[in-house]
Symmetry: C2
């Protein structure tokens, strides 16, 4: 069409940086961050981030450089989500459960130029740097993040040896007049997230400014987050950038209640004190809440929306959360989809269903959010959609602007996972007649026993409904006759007891017999930092047990 | 960064078409449209729009062609907002107050290939086609839209002469398997909006798919519109595509309550019957509501959010609306900013201010929404920002993704209005210390009297607070001595009376004397269809009066 112009008046690359700049005007004197005695307003947050971006730019950060951080959900961690992109760099948040060896691998792979380290994790960082120094790899500059209410050097740190800068000092030295380096193209990278590793080989997932902008707004909308929410940081910010709500809370001018340690007591205390409206948590966090000692519980000041994900929440857990006054929104996604990609959007007509039916529906992964284009369950070979019959299992696939740019330095893996023009999640699921999807398993988790597919998620849901069971995970145990049979790892609640026979019988009463576990092991479950059970560890254990026998009764 | 791929898995041009496709899954059996006895679900709306897009494509519509429509807020008007873009074409909604001559000018300028006409406006269309036929311009194909509950040909229409197709018939003929023509580039045009004409030369403002997507979500957020709103169509859809809520309501799976005639009774009836949660209206609509006869009023079933704009709502009007139970959100923008661009975002601390102070704050235009990048008040010559002193007047300027692509076939005007990399609104305003902007006038509306700038908006606000005044507009009357003096056109409420002297004295008691009107005329105000007073008409009248005298007392 004639008469059109594209210029700075009508085109700006989408970026979450805009959220902060706007909130510093619209919500300027409202609290942006609360952490112990530390309080910042949105205007202060913009100022601090601008100065920090200025400092690291002056110290040599260029567009596209990686800045790594190892820190829990403290104010600095939040600020880095803006300051690093404002310097044109890419934020790489590392999992605080990693050991020095893993951290050194990721620093090397990402070629991080700066490494911000919370004082609590200095020893991990020091170990990683030691490893790197020995391998002649360029070592990043280390920035110490002291405890926020003690913003000074502490002589306990052995700063001479490997710390180059101190966090508050960098902020002090920055200039407010710094011209923010906006992305030149909205597909420029904003962050790098290493997958948390239910397998052992982490991949570097790259997010763009555009995707981050869109997923933030989509996540805000799926949480029904109106303006000025109070958000409790029980989800690690290093996990998909806090499910994109680091940026999303800025978009809505909310208050970020930071939290170093996530415990039931700290959750209840903060919810009560700051009138938290929204929070998030993997099922482990929900478990922590519903099993909190009475002394740690506080009455909720208002309805609290809890977005859960990472694993399908067992009906029992959902039910108990709602009884405590939490409103659980079940969302699903992967690191590759910027965290949340679907939501089990609740239909009002479901309110009148029996509690059990409600919980069952709520454990579905649901429908795609406004940032994605399509969600489907497909046959991974033919790419045909499975029928919406709630039975036919296929692979969960996504398509849209909130799917990653790719895996850093791994074009082969990127091509593989985008083959056919869809992102292949590796998760298996079914589609219900109403279009909602339900996960059945990771493709590698599913148990094939005597030619039958057994969804470990379904077996786990039954285990969770057992009154003595706190946590459960099911994997396949090799079997000479059946191929595999279900093996359950179970952690019991404190003060409860159960026998192997109890558990097996309980399952046989509620499931087709071939789906009931034939082996039950009582022990603590190995977890990733985001609360996912490390099934590959359990699979190794089950493998080591060997075949149960050729005579396993399935009847 | 290495390893990245851009493909259909992770990049889709942003378009509101996605909202409809998603809602047909997520909200499939929920009501999308209600109009008299007509009811559609979101699944049906997608089906109808797909089939309509198919039909017009088969009839020869190509990408980028213009499809015009002349219709009030009926279901077909809503459907065309999706069906036309889904065919790759550009929707041009015409003002139903236009006469045949104006319609013929716009059909010619836009080169519309199809022209959808509501049965009520056939005579206007017929007149326009007659004019076009005489000038050897290609005449568009005419599609008759019958009343929705009588979807058949009516022999009263002289169909032989100029009607080519009938709306429901086109839908019937379309195929569901039609492959929707998504935009190739998200900056492709989606709609063409002729400015409604407070001046006499309309311009064709072009919106893009990207801008429409972003402004829809921003408007949803500024209205605090959670999922499944019930939206009453009191704002014409031909005005900035219904302030982008045609698309926005689809994003949230809401119900569109359509309305052929906007009257106080129809508003109250529909709000009550359908439990409306959101609506919009220029101050004329608010006026209609607060002055409704008691017999036409109904108690509100719930809080109703009303987005108002087009002109700053007088404090009196705001106050009375709130008393009736409406929650008024004041938004501001221009056709060039896709309608809403700012919002007077309400701060909780203002709740404790006296009512008058509250109303005064609420009449500010506020801060930019999440779709825009920057809003500023600048000196149009130097492009310097004015100080935030609530006093220095400058031009309101915008920058961001929700600013139009340009004026159709008028590169000169586009360049002019984007000069300096900002969209120059032509509106004059000030910036308050808290960053909120307040309009003082259109640059051509401001009165300059004895070297003093007089904001006609301020004078009008005082006039509105007079108990007998229903509507008021102030323009400059030429004056040999002062240059101009304020001249007020006033419409009194039914059953009330006031004299010229009353009005002048009332203003002199509340304003600096030089700002008080020296002339008062009692009469109905000429309006555009969107409720804006046509000040250029009044200016002509005031001009015709000639100079009041050289001795006008200003003291």
């Amino acid at each position: 069409m004639d008469g059109m112009i594209r210029c700075s008046a009508n085109y700006v690359p989408l970026s979450p940086i805009s959220f902060l700049e706007r909130s510093a005007i619209v919500y300027r004197d409202r609290l942006s961050i609360v952490y112990g005695n530390v309080r910042y307003t949105w205007r202060q947050t913009l100022e601090r981030c601008t100065k920090l971006a200025c400092s690291i730019t002056q110290l040599g950060i260029s567009r596209g450089d990686v800045v790594a951080v190892l820190a829990p959900n403290i104010p600095a961690m939040y600020e880095l989500h803006f300051a690093v992109p404002m310097s044109g760099a890419v934020l790489c948040t590392l999992n605080i459960r990693h050991d020095s060896a893993m951290v050194s691998v990721l620093l090397k792979h990402s070629e991080a130029k700066f490494f911000f380290v919370d004082h609590q994790f200095l020893h991990i960082a020091q170990g990683a740097i030691d490893i790197l120094s020995k391998t002649r790899v360029d070592v990043p500059l280390i920035v110490l993040i002291p405890e926020s209410d003690q913003p000074t050097y502490n002589s306990n740190y052995n700063i001479d040896s490997f710390i180059n800068f101190e966090y508050e000092n960098l902020i002090d030295k920055g200039r407010l007049e710094f011209e923010v380096r906006r992305p030149k193209d909205e597909l420029d990278p904003i962050s790098l997230n290493y997958t948390s590793g239910t397998t052992s080989s982490p991949k570097g997932v790259v997010y763009s400014h555009r995707g981050a902008f869109l997923n933030s707004l989509a996540t805000v909308l799926l949480n029904e987050m109106s303006s000025m929410p109070v958000y409790l940081w029980s989800v690690p910010m290093f996990h998909c950038n806090g499910w994109c709500l680091t940026w999303g809370v800025a978009a809505q001018g909310g208050t970020n209640v930071c939290l170093r340690n996530v415990t039931a007591k700290s959750i209840f205390d903060n919810v009560s004190q700051h009138k938290v409206t929204h929070m998030g948590g993997a099922p482990t966090v929900l478990n922590m809440i519903i099993n909190a000692p009475t002394g740690d519980q506080r009455p909720l000041p208002n309805k609290v929306m809890v977005m859960t994900g990472a694993a399908p929440p067992p009906p029992e857990v959902l039910y108990k959360m709602e009884r405590l006054g939490f409103n659980v929104v079940h969302s699903y996604g992967l690191t590759e989809t910027y965290g949340p990609g679907t939501v089990c959007f609740w239909k009002p007509e479901w309110d009148s269903l029996p509690r059990d039916a409600q919980a069952k529906i709520k454990s579905r992964q649901g429908v795609h959010h406004l940032g994605l284009e399509e969600l489907d369950i497909k046959d991974p070979l033919t790419m045909k959609s499975v029928p919406p019959d709630a039975k036919t299992i296929g692979e969960v696939m996504f398509r849209g602007n909130t799917v990653m740019n790719g895996y850093l330095k791994d074009l082969k893996a990127t091509k593989e996972v985008f083959k056919g023009g869809w992102f292949r999640s590796g998760d298996l699921g079914v589609k219900h007649p109403d279009g909602y999807i339900e996960l059945k398993d990771r493709s590698k988790d599913i148990i094939i026993s005597g030619g039958e597919n057994i969804s470990t998620i379904e077996v786990e849901a039954v285990l969770f409904s057992h009154p003595a069971v706190l946590e459960a995970a099911v994997v396949g145990r090799p079997d000479d006759y059946w191929g595999e049979t279900p093996c359950a790892f179970v952690k019991l609640k404190e003060g409860y007891s159960a026998t192997v026979e109890d558990i097996i019988q309980f399952c046989r009463n509620r499931l087709p017999h071939y789906m009931a576990p034939t082996t039950v092991v009582f022990e603590d479950l190995p977890k990733t930092s985001t609360g996912k059970t490390q099934k590959y560890v359990l699979r190794e254990k089950a493998k080591a047990m060997g075949s149960l026998s050729k005579k396993t009764s399935r009847l």
